[in-house]
Symmetry: C2
Subunit: 95 residues, 2 copies
């Protein structure tokens, strides 16, 4: 299993614009065969900082995700409203 | 529910010293009444970067955790071997 933390930084005044894109992205991504879980969280102390907690069966499942229609359509719409570059951390569970 | 990402940065040459402390911390923390889940992951691209994914019933459960015998004994042992200050991010699930 591959874990990924994907962090987005959205301009505060654009959060309400981005939320419907996020909602659709989460709903559609959870239907992908290689997706174990896909949750979107918000940082309670840093407005506009959104953190995806993603679990994939393997690296191929994540690659598949980035080629889906919903990813290729929604991520560029979200990226129009970022305040800084997204950050990705790939992890594996040790305990 | 409260989510917390706790990030530790351990000196690479001290990882094998710290792992048994982590293992005991995970095992004992999971037995706490307010702990929903408590997983330790490692960053695949940054050796020594360890990321706890924590879910607590509420803030009180997290406060209780920091007052347990295992936390007060093990965390200082781990902290002897850090290369930089730990980082904490409190979150809530939105989707």
């Amino acid at each position: 299993m591959l874990l990924l933390i994907a962090e987005d930084f959205i301009k505060v005044e654009k959060i309400s614009t981005v939320l419907p894109y996020y909602e659709e992205l989460v709903e559609k991504t959870r239907q992908e065969p290689g997706c174990i879980s896909y949750e979107l969280t918000k940082d309670l102390k840093n407005e506009g900082h959104f953190i995806f907690l993603e679990r994939w069966v393997n690296e191929d499942a994540l690659t598949f995700h980035t080629k889906t229609e919903h990813f290729k359509r929604l991520v560029p719409l979200i990226d129009q409203h970022i305040s800084e570059k997204a950050k990705y951390t790939r992890m594996e569970i040790i305990y």
